[in-house]
């Protein structure tokens, strides 16, 4: 199924968009979404691979990798680079 994921900061700059689509199996988990972002959007590699610590927020809360997700959920990639 197709899911929309909100993205921010340097990731949004790299993708030239604040929102990306990913294709994931049905049913899908948060881990599936992160894996699909990395496979389907190579420009986001810097925000998804170590030392980055990407997390998926579902409906404005961090979720564990096993959390099921559906097209009805608001999904957001949260990659904070710390520093400053």
């Amino acid at each position: 199924m197709k899911l929309e994921v909100l993205i921010f900061g340097a990731a949004a700059l790299a993708a030239r968009s604040g929102r990306l689509s990913v294709d994931v199996p049905h049913p899908a988990t948060a881990a599936d979404v992160l894996a699909a972002l990395e496979a389907q959007h190579p420009s986001l590699a810097f925000a998804l691979k170590p030392p980055a610590t990407p997390r998926l927020a579902v409906n404005h809360a961090y979720v564990p990798p096993t959390q099921p997700v559906t097209p009805a959920d608001e999904l957001a990639l949260i990659t904070l680079l710390g520093g400053g």
Binding site: L6, F8, G9, A10, L13, T53, A57, H60, A61, A76, I78, L80, G82, G83, G84
Partner: protein, 142 residues
Amino acid sequence: MFTPLVTSLIIDGPITDSRAHALAIPDHGTVGAAFTFRGIVRRAEPSPAHPATLRDLLALDYETYDPMASRELLALATETAAAHHLTAIHVLHSRGRIAVGETSFVLHVLAPHRAEALAATASFIDALKARVPIWKRPVWAT
């Protein structure tokens, strides 16, 4: 059980001096240490293309993911207050464009003793950057 006073707020634009100072010390005599931390936008930031060199900024644009940013900020403040036995914690963060020299972040901590207040301040700021969905984008001078 004592309940710490916790407030958090994300505001549009820079944090003014009056907001940064607006912290009343409660008069019940339990507070021995009051810490205020202000984060200020510096002129020079590492260049993305050449991280070893500094490049001049005009401002930082702070982008927040709302309402998650507000929720995480409040949750972090509440957890920090409990973990460090604070009397009160007040946090303000800016959203939008903050010019060089302006304040984008203020943390007030009240505690019985300074060790708790210092430890809470350090751990709060580290967790803020790891957890609260706020991003900054440089506005370069040249």
